[in-house]
């Protein structure tokens, strides 16, 4: 195939003079900037998706039960009742040391020293969809009056919603970046058409088809946009690595189940970044083809 093509046409034969008309500076640099932004958007999207999934899988399956301090004896009964309830995987009262550790950021060591009457706090992990919370609340309050059942579900769901919105925004940004990249290629192609108008008319007069002329432009634009995309992806690499480092603790420490911590980013680095030059090249090819073919219709 390659041998056949070489026989057809020397590789460096630039009949329309596009090496100068479609310069190798401005277009690749602009596309590189677009690819860089696209890499950030991809990272944002993947990160937000990972956080949303993580929060939902981890924290949504948890419940906190508070038993008032004066009914400490009731706490053990509440734990026993919880463990006997279907849909609950585990229930464990926090020790005084655990509570003191939780309060230390707010009260310092004064909390335990002041001998505050702290409620007993029971951490509950749900299995599956968990029990009916309203019924559970009534049942536990009868056992130990003043007992509160606090679901993490509501605010976790809000957080997850926020994360999903962020993810949607990131995809939107990616779409806008792609559209801008296509515009940049279209403007550069039109400038090239204007600069090579006479050469195009001559080649057209010699019997070149629209496809022949469009291929010349698309070949050049594909190469320049692809190179720009590669440049942008390489520039984004260290930034994404740093972001992955920063994000890792958030996903890694929450939740009881050992979820794969930020697997999303390495996956993105492996799959998403190489896709950027390819995507940029595809945008270059399609845009140049469409722009040139539309322009050529003015010739008979």
């Amino acid at each position: 195939m390659t041998e056949h093509r070489r026989r057809r046409r020397p590789a460096r034969f630039d009949d329309l003079g596009l090496r100068r008309a479609l310069g190798d500076r401005m277009l690749p640099l602009l596309v590189a900037a677009m690819a860089f932004l696209a890499a950030l958007a991809l990272a944002g999207s993947a990160g937000a998706a990972a956080l949303a999934r993580h929060w939902q899988e981890g924290a949504a399956a948890a419940l906190t039960v508070q038993v008032p301090a004066d009914g400490t004896a009731g706490a053990a009964a509440v734990v026993a009742a919880l463990l006997a309830t279907p849909g609950i995987a585990a229930a464990q009262a926090l020790t005084d040391a655990d509570l003191a550790a939780l309060l230390r950021p707010w009260l310092g060591d004064a909390g335990s020293a002041a001998g505050l009457h702290l409620p007993a706090v029971i951490a509950v992990r749900l299995a599956g969809d968990g029990p009916d919370l309203a019924a559970l609340q009534t049942r536990l309050a009868a056992l130990a009056p003043g007992t509160l059942v606090e679901s993490h579900g509501v605010w976790v769901q809000r957080l997850a919603m926020l994360a999903r919105s962020l993810e949607a925004c990131a995809w939107l940004a990616l779409g806008v970046v792609a559209a801008v990249a296509a515009s940049v290629v279209a403007v550069a192609t039109r400038a090239g058409l204007a600069a090579r108008r006479e050469a195009i008319e001559i080649v057209h007069g010699l019997g070149a088809t629209d496809g022949y002329i469009a291929r010349r432009f698309a070949g050049r634009a594909t190469w320049l946009a692809g190179a720009g995309g590669l440049l942008g992806a390489l520039a984004a690499l260290p930034v994404l690595a740093a972001l992955a480092n920063l994000a890792a603790p958030f996903v890694a420490t929450q939740g009881a189940a050992p979820l794969p911590p930020l697997k999303a980013l390495p996956l993105l680095l492996v799959g998403g970044l190489p896709a950027l030059p390819l995507g940029a090249a595809a945008i270059g090819f399609v845009t140049a083809q469409a722009t040139v073919r539309a322009w050529l219709r003015r010739l008979s």
């Binding site: 034969f13 009949d15 050469a199 001559i202 080649v203 010699l206 070149a208 629209d210 008979s300």
Partner: protein, 223 residues
């Protein structure tokens, strides 16, 4: 081969039809025919050649080239027809960034010929027009006469069935002009239809032949 029936052409100026460059032209040229195209500047010689080269389509009337109705043909049909037409422009219209060799090779490469064939044909044609030693030169490094010979070589290298020339001897001395006429007559003898627009009365006198005479966009005579 070429047939015109009531053909008119007006160019658009600012989107509106401008003055008519050609009016009510009817004539035909048989396959293998030869025609001088004569007339003063502005008579419409170049416009008629543009029509025959399929660079513009007629505004009115019917133009058939190679038995294809040019006015009604799909755009995609025209490139294949153009590849059978050779055109020598008054202003040469060489590609300035390509060498003489690459300029002459261009029609063959567009037609998709293999590279060994391109090389052989283009070199032979450049030798024929006396530019064997200037093959690598850019048009800007060539004299006017040399550029014209490159333009002629490019027009005939694909062995066109229809050969059009607009003032092809304008930049040539008498000896070169004679040599060119011999080439055109040779192409004609081999079967190509040839149309040559010129001001050069002496050349026409030396090579008498049927002529289309234009004045103000109309055909005065077809003899």
């Amino acid at each position: 081969m070429v047939r015109l029936e009531g053909v008119a052409l007006h160019y658009l100026s600012a989107g509106r039809p401008g003055p008519e460059a050609l009016r009510d032209l009817s004539f035909s040229i048989p396959e293998g025919g030869f025609r001088w195209l004569l007339g003063a500047s502005g008579a419409g010689k170049s416009s008629l050649l543009r029509l025959l080269h399929l660079a513009v389509r007629p505004t009115r009337g019917r133009l058939a080239v190679f038995d294809t109705d040019v006015g009604r043909a799909r755009r995609a049909e025209l490139p294949a027809l153009r590849r059978r037409i050779g055109m020598v422009f008054q202003d040469f219209r060489l590609l300035p960034h390509l060498s003489a060799f690459d300029n002459v090779a261009l029609p063959l490469r567009i037609a998709g010929r293999t590279e060994p064939q391109v090389r052989a044909d283009a070199q032979e044609m450049l030798r024929w027009v006396g530019l064997a030693r200037r093959m690598a030169a850019l048009p800007s490094q060539l004299s006017g006469g040399e550029q014209q010979r490159v333009a002629i070589a490019r027009a005939v290298v694909g062995r066109p069935s229809l050969l059009l020339a607009d003032e092809p001897t304008g930049n040539l001395d008498d000896g070169q002009a004679e040599r060119l006429m011999l080439l055109l007559q040779e192409m004609n003898r081999l079967g190509a239809t040839v149309v040559v627009a010129t001001h050069n009365a002496a050349l026409v006198a030396r090579h008498p032949g049927p002529a289309l005479r234009l004045a103000e966009g109309r055909l005065l005579g077809d003899d």
